[in-house]
């Protein structure tokens, strides 16, 4: 008997008798004999809890995490601190183990969390309505495209090359499915090229897509770019940790704001689970994907919360639903609203200021290194791009490898996603980095570049 089941031999006999069959095998009579597995599953034998733990620990120890190097790696996920109280709350059985709140009377905790989350995301983005989360940032951006298609039925998306490559790729995958063409517009001086942007937008454009700050860390003039797109739905992906200091999308003419919620109380987890947020102007409310909690009253007139506007959803509307999403990222969104409440009204600004200061300082420090130049001169909020004095992506990777051998991860080589920046390196800050870490980065990167130069000469 496995440790997670409890049916004894005596139980089994009594149960089979009550059912009226001789053996458990009889319960599978409907399975055609020819299809039944002749032998057992080809998997290793089961293990005791201690053995499983030892195996998983051994695997985990073969990963170099932000615990064991000083990391400046970002590009969509960041080594943000997760406050201890979030660990405690997301481990509570009452939040960890129920499912979607289909029975609101016994799910008021989860439903109220969703309502609070929606309020916090609304505030952060300055947009009136928010859903209760989608899978992640890139899938949120793609979901926004689908909402735009439902809204105006046009045939084209225009997306800035400053949008995260994973989000652009996700959008392209889904858009191909429902038959929308995706047009990409280039960057100039590190930001979306306004002329190319205006030229690309035509009468058949369903939606336009931006990112703030963009993938290269540069702060875009979102309001101007949005103003150039009067007809289509304007979608902007935002870094939520910077929204205490950056003008919120709702004040820039953005209709749908999306983004990656990982930094709001969620771990890196090698890419997930985290959550994607999705906020919009009022007129998109009835086309939003995913769960939405609403406030109401019970029979006695007491305040309560329910899942609402469910006629958008697949379990009611089936093929006419506005999205197929069912399970999303409720527990991660809980971490998100607790994190935002922990930061609070002042903290969100202080954090934004700290990140912007750290980024500016680190950028200046790295530009002092011999041969390192700015990839763009735009203002930045938490991440920036530099050019290294090396030939290509392979050389950048060698430099990064040397830094990592010295205990510092200097950032993400850009040449994979952006061949035009083969010598580019994207450097990210989290609030866990310090002036001393930055000095270490400068020393280690300087030495790695020197070693690369020597290697090239030799």
């Amino acid at each position: 008997m496995s440790r997670y089941t409890a049916i004894t031999e005596a139980d089994r006999e009594a149960m089979l008798e009550a059912i009226g069959v001789a053996s458990v095998a009889d319960l599978f009579d409907a399975v055609p004999p020819a299809l039944r597995m002749g032998s057992g599953l080809d998997l290793p034998e089961g293990m005791a809890e201690q053995e499983v733990f030892a195996h998983l620990r051994e695997l985990a120890e073969r990963n170099v995490s932000a615990e064991s190097e000083v990391s400046f790696l970002g590009a969509g996920m960041y080594d943000a601190y997760v406050p201890a109280l979030i660990d405690m709350l997301v481990e509570r059985s009452e939040f960890l183990t129920p499912y979607t709140p289909y029975q609101p009377e016994i799910s008021q905790g989860g439903l109220q969390v969703m309502f609070e989350y929606q309020t916090a995301i609304s505030e952060l983005t300055a947009l009136p309505v928010s859903n209760a989360s989608v899978y992640d940032g890139p899938s949120a951006l793609a979901a926004a495209g689908y909402v735009a298609k439902l809204a105006n039925g046009r045939g084209r998306f225009v997306v800035s090359r400053g949008v995260h490559p994973h989000a652009r790729q996700t959008l392209a995958t889904l858009a191909r499915g429902y038959g929308i063409e995706v047009v990409e517009t280039p960057l100039r001086d590190g930001i979306t090229d306004g002329d190319a942007w205006r030229e690309a937008i035509d009468a058949d454009t369903a939606a336009v897509f931006l990112q703030q700050p963009n993938f290269l860390g540069a702060i875009e003039d979102v309001a101007a770019l949005a103003a150039a797109a009067a007809e289509p739905v304007v979608v902007c992906s935002c870094d939520p940790q910077t929204l205490g200091v950056l003008r919120p999308p709702g004040e820039c003419g953005v209709e749908i704001a999306v983004g990656e919620g990982q930094t709001l109380g969620n771990r890196l987890d090698f890419g997930g689970p985290s959550f994607g947020f999705f906020a919009a102007s009022e007129d998109h409310l009835r086309r939003m994907p995913g769960r939405i909690a609403g406030e109401t009253v019970d029979l006695d007139g007491n305040r309560g919360f329910v899942l609402t506007l469910q006629t958008r959803e697949q379990h009611i509307r089936r093929e006419r639903a506005t999205s197929n999403i069912c399970t999303s990222q409720a527990l991660n969104a809980l971490a998100g609203v607790v994190y935002l409440s922990w930061l609070g009204r002042r903290g969100i600004v202080e954090l934004g200021e700290l990140l912007a200061t750290l980024a500016a300082h680190t950028r200046e420090r790295l530009l002092e290194l011999s041969g390192v130049t700015a990839l763009h001169e735009q203002p930045v909020a938490r991440e920036f791009a530099v050019r290294l004095p090396v030939a290509d992506l392979a050389a950048v990777r060698r430099v990064v490898d040397r830094c990592q051998a010295a205990g510092v991860n200097p950032g993400h080589p850009l040449g994979g996603e952006y061949p035009e920046y083969g010598d580019g390196l994207l450097v990210a800050l989290s609030e866990q980095r310090t002036a001393a870490d930055v000095e270490l980065l400068a020393t280690v990167l300087g030495a790695a570049l020197a070693a690369e130069r020597e290697g090239a000469v030799a």
């Binding site: 609070e116 997930g272 509307r317």
Partner: protein, 489 residues
């Protein structure tokens, strides 16, 4: 209860910024005027003790699986071992950046590889992608793969067949994939109506999406004929893995003829449901579908594991990075705990428990009959129609009264083709005593309703709130708190 926005006071805080050692600079010097926020978002202003108390008290207004029986049909609410939380939280997992150089993430990639191999073994299909983040996400992947497969052969197929018993996500996914739903009827024994299937299967059909055992909890024994019809017109067969918990180690979807399968790691493989996620919906497929699988793929080479982005025929990506890795850790820990024999035992006991509970409830068949009188798989469907006629309480009332007995009710009003449906899935991790007590609670509710139906009609009586005005909530949506403008801090 008050919301977090109704607590606290101006000036309170739980967050203190860390000292970076970098000289602070005025934000005006760093961020241009046009891009700078003027008014801070009106987030709560609370101390840490207030924050903890608020959310702990909120948690107590939730029913949860660790506290009681949760036979929610089609959701596989099985026990979530705590070991899994511990291993997912190891720093080598929890603080591992998704863009870490693969050479420095070998443990994570090996774990993903091993999980893929295990899912391939369970499904009987050789190629696995872990990327999709939920069942419906896996379904979307499956249809986009099907589409790519047909297009690569120069065929444009527009229709997808779904049985009328299908989960709502199936038809919704078809629409999102730009395809058209064609419904297939259900035969008298609860399986696919083969005549209807034959009539609708033509050269325009891209795929049949099927759950087997289906959402009535019945294994469709005609699966070989179904596969023959579908493959006969050149379409693919898609397996919705929501009900995989019934057949692990007993029969493999690949052997049934399926081309593409999705798994729900949050159902079958113990990822905690989290109040509605995170989940995970990996897919497995046959050789002919493999070229189109999502990027990146985990590959094994001479120097260890790597991520392969060079896949010219791939449909692309469905989300960021590599998927919900934290859920992979938990599912993998579960599979290593149970092994092949343990997974088979889990399915056997899940089916035994369901059939036993169904037998116990057969004593109440005059009021609450099984929708189909044959052995069930891991779940079974009852109809509350006679109960409604004879006692004057509907399935909703029965469900609400179960709350007072300390149970989460079964899934209600699904599948749609059964009148006053209840879909009951006990799972393998429940004891016989729990199943007995649940059957007795249902009997007690019916006996009580025979004497006084009002008790059930007005239930629940012990929950934090009474029945809620859902219609009013939808008519006048209040989906965020209205906040007063206050002075800048």
């Amino acid at each position: 209860m008050k919301t977090i926005f109704e607590r606290g006071a101006a000036g309170r805080r739980a967050f203190v910024p860390p000292r970076s050692g970098v000289e602070p600079r005025p934000i005006e010097e760093l961020i241009p005027d046009s891009a700078r926020r003027r008014e801070p978002p009106r987030l709560p202003e609370v101390s840490e003790p207030e924050l903890v108390r608020h959310y702990v008290n909120l948690s107590k207004r939730n029913f949860d699986l660790d506290s009681g029986f949760y036979p929610l049909g089609s959701c596989t609410m099985k026990h979530n071992p705590r070991l899994h939380e511990r291993v997912a939280a190891l720093p080598g997992n929890a603080r591992l950046h998704p863009l870490q150089d693969p050479a420095r993430a070998q443990g994570a990639l090996e774990l993903m590889w091993n999980l893929q191999e295990a899912l391939a073994a369970v499904s009987g299909l050789p190629h696995v992608s872990l990327q999709p983040s939920a069942g419906s996400h896996g379904e979307l992947a499956g249809l986009l793969l099907t589409r790519a497969y047909h297009e690569d052969r120069g065929e444009t197929r527009t229709k997808v067949l779904t049985p009328d018993t299908a989960h709502g996500t199936n038809p919704a996914t078809v629409t999102m994939a730009g395809l058209e739903v064609v419904k297939v009827g259900t035969a008298a024994d609860g399986g696919v109506d083969l005549d209807d299937l034959r009539a609708k299967a033509d050269e325009d059909v891209a795929c049949l999406m099927l759950t087997n055992p289906n959402t009535l909890g019945l294994f469709d024994g005609r699966i070989e004929e179904i596969a023959e019809v579908v493959h006969g017109v050149g379409a693919t067969l898609y397996y919705d893995g929501a009900n995989l918990n019934a057949v692990m180690g007993i029969v493999r979807p690949g052997d049934m003829g399926f081309d593409i399968v999705h798994f729900n790691l949050h159902k079958t493989f113990t990822q905690p449901h989290g109040g509605g996620g995170p989940g995970s919906g990996p897919i497995a497929c046959s050789d002919r579908i493999e070229p189109y699988l999502m990027t990146p793929r985990v590959v094994r080479g001479e120097d260890g594991f790597d991520l392969d982005y060079e896949r010219p025929k791939s449909i692309g990506r469905l989300r960021g990075f590599q998927g919900n890795y934290g859920t992979f850790v938990r599912a993998y820990a579960y599979i290593r705990s149970l092994g092949g024999d343990g997974l088979r035992e889990a399915s056997e006991v899940a089916v035994l428990n369901a059939n036993y509970l169904k037998a116990r409830l057969a004593e109440l068949a005059e009021l609450l009959p099984a929708a189909f009188d044959r052995a069930c798989a891991h779940e079974f469907c009852l109809s509350g129609a006679p109960m409604k006629r004879q006692l004057g309480i509907g399935t909703l009332d029965l469900a609400k009264r179960l709350l007072d007995h300390g149970y989460h009710p079964p899934t209600i009003y699904f599948p749609l083709l059964v009148e006053e449906a209840l879909l009951v899935e006990p799972t393998e991790t429940e004891t016989k005593e729990t199943l007995d007590a649940f059957a007795e609670a249902i009997a007690a509710i019916l006996a009580e309703a025979a004497a006084d139906p009002e008790v059930a009609r007005t239930a629940p009586h012990s929950a934090p709130v009474r029945r809620l005005d859902e219609a009013g909530a939808a008519r006048r949506p209040r989906i965020r708190q209205q906040l007063d403008r206050t002075e800048d801090p």
